[in-house]
Symmetry: C2
Subunit: 527 residues, 2 copies
Amino acid sequence: MSITGEMLIGRQAVRGNEKPLRAFNPARGSDIAEPVFGSGTVANVHEACELAAKAFDPYRQLPLATRAEFLERIADGITALGDGLIQRAHEESGLPKARLEGERGRTTGQLKLFAEVVRTGQWLAATLDSPLPERKPLPRSDLRMQKIPLGPVAVFGASNFPLAFSVAGGDTAAALAAGCPVVVKAHRAHLGTSEMVGRVIQRVAQAMDLPEGVFSMIVGAGSSVGEALVAHPAIKAVGFTGSRAGGTSLMRVAAARHEPIPVYAEMSSINPVFLLPGALAARAEAIARGFVDSLVLGAGQFCTNPGLAIAVDGDALNDFVAAASAALAARPAQTMLTAGIHAAYEDGEGKLAGTQGVEAVAHGAAPTGPTQARAALFVTDARTFLSTPALEDEVFGPASTIVRCKNEQELLEVAEHFAGQLTATLQMSGDDLPAARKLVPVLERKAGRILINGFPTGVEVSHAMVHGGPFPATSDSRVTSVGTTSIERFLRPVCYQDFPADLLPEALADSNPLELWRRVDGEITRS
Amino acid sequence: MSITGEMLIGRQAVRGNEKPLRAFNPARGSDIAEPVFGSGTVANVHEACELAAKAFDPYRQLPLATRAEFLERIADGITALGDGLIQRAHEESGLPKARLEGERGRTTGQLKLFAEVVRTGQWLAATLDSPLPERKPLPRSDLRMQKIPLGPVAVFGASNFPLAFSVAGGDTAAALAAGCPVVVKAHRAHLGTSEMVGRVIQRVAQAMDLPEGVFSMIVGAGSSVGEALVAHPAIKAVGFTGSRAGGTSLMRVAAARHEPIPVYAEMSSINPVFLLPGALAARAEAIARGFVDSLVLGAGQFCTNPGLAIAVDGDALNDFVAAASAALAARPAQTMLTAGIHAAYEDGEGKLAGTQGVEAVAHGAAPTGPTQARAALFVTDARTFLSTPALEDEVFGPASTIVRCKNEQELLEVAEHFAGQLTATLQMSGDDLPAARKLVPVLERKAGRILINGFPTGVEVSHAMVHGGPFPATSDSRVTSVGTTSIERFLRPVCYQDFPADLLPEALADSNPLELWRRVDGEITRS
């Protein structure tokens, strides 16, 4: 597939007339000369949004099987792009090809899983309350409820997942599955990859004769295109993965609209790992190796990167620090996604190193390329951590800080101190059960996912996954942005009162033609 | 029970030292002399919020049966207040005693229904994904998910339901059921009623030895107490029923917090009723009687009051207008809830009467008391309606406008023009099915509940009810504020990865001890 640098607006390819942009190769530290991408105007945004609004009713009214087929054919189309897609994503992101192949599998698997989800229809949450015509003092009407899609969704892809959290990533898959048209703002860090995937979606939509506007993709140089997208009245929800500054900025735009809309921003997390005494005593070295593996994976560029380890001071913690330091020293520097991310990492790591009471104990190998990150491990004590708010800031990249606590009480104090997180992890043994019982209720309040004896990187796409958590991990702790229940972000309930059979939605018909598990008079039943 | 004018903060009764307030009897148009209510300071708010924060973990960890018993004993305590409560609510609200007795039944029924809901545990949304240790390239962890409560909730009661949407109303019942402590700001319009009900909750909490802070009730004179409550870091969600100005003001406070929190504000709706030609031809007079009954019920002081009827012009519509006018003329004026609501109604009705292109066609009987509302019916045409934004503003009280459309196309244009509504209603016959098929998809986008051949007043508390809808009907169309699923407003999901059996929440144990319907590897099962 050739990349032209055009935007995709409905069925058209449109060259943006605003500032020209070039893709960037972070491994080489230089622009990719061809093609030039034309960034869009606010008028382009409006056109895409108006097409999305027109597409909404016809798209959501298609049979569920058609919606499922749409998702599956997008997945097949992405696979059919073959090595060209992997090569382009590799050039634009600096990520290893093997990692990108894995990410492609995750992306297509996610689309196919959502196709299954659409077909089952459980997300419709079909609920029926029988009429009670004889009830006194007042009869009860026939009441039936299902969920319907919110409306067109704006999706902002992530820098760190050019496939799985981008143009056809989790937000787009969930929104299309819910019945919402999608307008994507392509991420500056992988413009060519975005166009390739976007053209797949556009072609499938056209081949299936879906309503024009079910998908568009806009390119923007600054923040004005993204803000115009969030501000457009046709847009009814926003999916975003990125920085806290970017996410909170979109939250402000959404809250200031005439009609405020939900923003699902996945933003910032340092993913504390608690190393309990029994676990450290039994296997400090093994935990250290696992911790370092998790820390440097993908140059530390994961939302779930373990930015903090917390333990009670002592010999076993010293063993952990020594083993982690040794493991880290052997790790090569890795190319980061963009020059900006690399600069921010160097800045964040430098600030950690310069913080009073924080000591650098280990570094990975020195960089050999222009945007490479050297891994770093720091140590501090709980009093310093508790009194230095900056130590809670995410440093996006392979840097982590170990917090030495005097005792269990201080460790609990550190846990209670955290703001919201995507994950929290306990390394524990059977001996640590009493301490874990005290920690888990605190961590439930703080994090969307709690892991025992694992490491937080690696987010399964399944039914029980929660990739979310209290602010600032996300803007909305009530939902997840990964896994099948992420579809719920784009739905709202509607009640149908005393509807004749001829007008009832299929999901709510007496005969249950979709064979759904429904709640009927409070009981779960499939009959 | 004697009313002292004190606030209820944890286990204490505390006299507020800010501006003294007196309750008001709208039927007499005068203050109720005794007692004087002391309004609270921001320090009182902070005390209540800090107690709520402390109560959160112990309260949510109580057995579900204890939580259910709490709700049931509150219901019994309210019933035990007997006629004293009804008398006080009648004096403070001007609402007829029979209506208040019905509302009391709804309130206690709601508490008992939520007790049932708590016991079933379905709201935990228990979900299990089995580990796949042999999966290639990577094994899958053991992943389990349940919902937990958000944290302390601030509840702002409604003026128009001194029992069912107030201190122990739907928001409080749902929040306590979810496991959230509650801090109520008592509504200025029924301070004594609020104290009576609040003392019941406080006494039950103490009798059951529940954590202090599970419930508090604050009195405030202006907006500072309410805003301090929403701004307090311990508060994690807000329930509000009231005006659009009040709701959007709390939304702004919540969005401006360091940690933004969800606000569930139920605000403003004009609840359009579409009178389709077949229905009007068959039964214009019967529909007119039903419409007027719904319009004047409770002096029109319902969120679901039908503020608008829309029909295609012609003889049948003339019949409807004539019959509705005749029915309305026979209706007595009714006492409104407060002097302020009465003044706002007079103002809104006056503005309607003075709007170019709007004609007053009928009035109810003239007032005989100081805060009585005279019902009013207006007629306009679709072009005027579409070009006069003020005609979409809610006039809280027994006033409604009939919109004459030239044809079905114009009627659809009016439907498409609306902002979000709690309800939309179709009066139709079999002949109207084709028109209804065009209208329903539009109304699904606009309203939380769609009724066929009914009237919107009267909101059932059941599983399938949706009392919600797009902005400005509510601040969050993804949820309902009435019915059992309103508990979902106060929950968030947490994923437990690779938890040992000893640490797993009961809802997620292999043996399913709570006998929940759970999603296991994608299948709904109770085993």
